[in-house]
Amino acid sequence: MRRALALLLAAALPCAARGEAPDPTYLPDLQARARDLHLGTSSGWLRLGHWRPRPFGGWKGEADGPAFYRAPGGQTDPEAELQATLAAFFDAAPKADELDDALCRFPARFAFLVRELGIDLGRLPLRPCPRQQEFLGRVMARGATLVFSSWYLNNPASAFGHTFLRLNKAGEALGGKTFELLDTGVDYSANVDTGNAVAYAVKGLFGLFRGQFNHYAYYYKVREYADYESRDLWEYDLALDPGEVAMLVAHLWELGGTWFDYWYLDENCSYHVLGALEAAAPRLELLRHVGRYVVLPSDTVQALYRNPGLVRRVHYRPSIRTQLDARFARLGPAGREAALALADDAAAPLPAGLPEPEVVGSLDAAADLVDVRHGKAILMGKDDVMARRRQAILTRRAALAVPSPPLDLTLPQQRRPDLGHGSGRLELGAGASRRDGALLVLDLRLAFHDLLDPPAGYPHTAQIEFADLRLRWAPRPRRLELDEGWLVRITSLSALTRLEMRPSWKARFGAVTVRDAGCPGCLVADLEVGGGLAALGLGPADLLVTGDAELQGAPGLAGFRGRGVRLGLGPSGLLRLTAGDRLALAVEGKWRWLPEAAPRQAYLLRAEARLHLGPRLSVALEARRTPLDDEALGLLHLFY
């Protein structure tokens, strides 16, 4: 290996130094050889150009920036693109912009073609590419890690997580974490050019943002995600050989020079990170294992594990919130009181006789508490009072002149994103209702997780669901109904602790079949929001109580003053019991006052029990009571 490298160096460097021109007679040979080998439609070439098969034949390249293609029809013709790329390698005329030289823009393609065609570098010498070299040199990658930033529950949009790459200057974590902050992070994200929320949502869903690959010092992401967004980071060290790592960096340079239409649902951050890995290491099968229409970041982490041996190690980097909880847990009662007091007044006197480790621990916890509560405001210069308090706590801590013991949290196996259930769920059920007799039920949910689903790898106190439809067929009256159909349904439970008191809330939007006298059996549009408080971890139980407002509308609805719209106001309660990972039980009740409508009130009582049999299968029992009907069902849940 080293001899080959030395030979190449000897062969190539003098040529590059002399600036020899490529041999033009060599090009037709190479092009012919490429055609004979059908290289243009080989898996390696297709992955490098990110061409995907179209439904009715042909190819479409995912990259949308024109400079990514040298052939005029390159986006849809990988063979022509290969021929044009080869021709462009032989074009050694000086260029105004280094990236106009194909050799400088496409180092990964070059390496691929050199290998596949056995190109003689004496006849096609390397040319100087200073910007490319500067990037490769700055990155100095010896290994790669896939990083998953977890959710922050108070921001449901972060629930799906984010994946990006870290290019490591050391092959393995050298002596722990000290080197990692200085590594290079690379991600694919949208270049957002609007401050309008609706435009943002529309553009994100319909590919109207440009997505680009970015790189930065990894510390930026650690600070942003772990410190200011309270998101844990999961780092999956990848077992790539040096050639694959080199290919990855070279290919990221290629991708960096173009853009992709950013599609929030499928061609998002996770999708393109996997695409880059697959291009660099053709032995990997990653995209095959993620959804076709919706790609969730947690799915991409699971895809890593479908390649045995790809994940060398998993590291856990707790967010500041997790660190704070750990620091608090390690203090005794006096230490905790001290920490809370310090967070309110940095000069607060500490109890006499508090042992030094507790003093140290309480000051450290107080500093983290101030950061969790006010960190972002302090950073943005919006809270002078808290900035001064933080400074005072830190100064007081430094005066103790003893180092803090390292926090060293063990990796929480329960929360590993690669252990999560499949994000899609299909339910099949049968049962009976008092009014309609026997029932058959089919429920399909596109994504993501509810409060009774298998808990591993998902937020335990949040329910986030997209596109959940339940069809209900009653054979006796021959009625097929959309029992419920939700575009989005979110419930976020926040604990009330001494550290923070945050309200819990829920929201849902979709359609529901009315089961009270207002319009029995009608399908109405439904929008509901609720806010309240939750008590979590009362033994195996979690309790949520909210006050809700619900709006329903449909032509036949006996609504507000006879109109087709009605408002419902009232409380609802939810009690959830969990026994380990296998069993979950929920009882839910809600009552609605329907002002100036007929009837004046409505209610719902529901109970559900679920038993998780495996990663893909659960069984459930449901019972429901509404003003007009009672029903009970047994269901099978299949995750995919």
Partner: protein, 166 residues
């Protein structure tokens, strides 16, 4: 086997050439940084309306910042083994660094020891902790001020064996 060796050799060649450059300038930044500095506030968090901030988590959008583009090459806010690289590091990690310094240990101190090429990060932590008030005199201390005081402290204590140039 031979083919992959050749592929590796070609790429290693490309990287080696780059590393040759890097020996002089690679890990080191160019010394220039964007007018807005390399802090989190200016680069990562900007003032956006609340709803958009919430949605931003979905695309992890960078709000038009070109600083981090791969080929646009304006990423001068990187880690570099010079005062400029240290300054960038302090700028981006200011609050976390202050906290770690007050504790006499932490990941940022480890990274700083690598940047300044010091011998032992535990000793560096102790030195920075005992000089905390001088290095971070107030909450208004700028990254520049902290960096110069920090470098002064590291250079003054020969036992730390740091290689950072002032």
């Amino acid at each position: 086997m031979i083919r992959s060796a050749k592929l590796f050799a070609v790429l290693a060649l490309v990287l080696a050439a780059g590393s040759a450059l890097a020996a002089d300038s690679g890990l080191k930044g160019s010394g220039r940084y964007g007018a807005a500095g390399c802090g989190l506030g200016s680069l990562i968090f900007q003032d956006q309306p609340g709803m958009v901030q919430i949605l931003a988590a979905t695309t992890n959008g960078t709000f038009g910042s070109q600083t981090f583009g791969i080929t646009t090459g304006t990423s001068n806010c990187g880690a570099g083994m010079t005062a400029a690289g240290t300054r960038n590091f302090v700028d981006a990690n200011k609050d976390a660094l202050a906290k770690d310094m007050s504790r006499g240990q932490g990941e940022t101190i480890g990274a700083l020891s690598v940047l300044a090429q010091c011998k032992d990060s535990a000793q560096v932590g102790a030195a920075l902790q005992s000089n905390f008030k001088a290095i971070v005199p107030s909450d208004k201390a700028t990254a520049d001020e902290i960096t110069s005081k920090l470098i002064e402290t590291l250079q003054a204590d020969k036992a730390l064996g740091c290689q950072i140039a002032g």
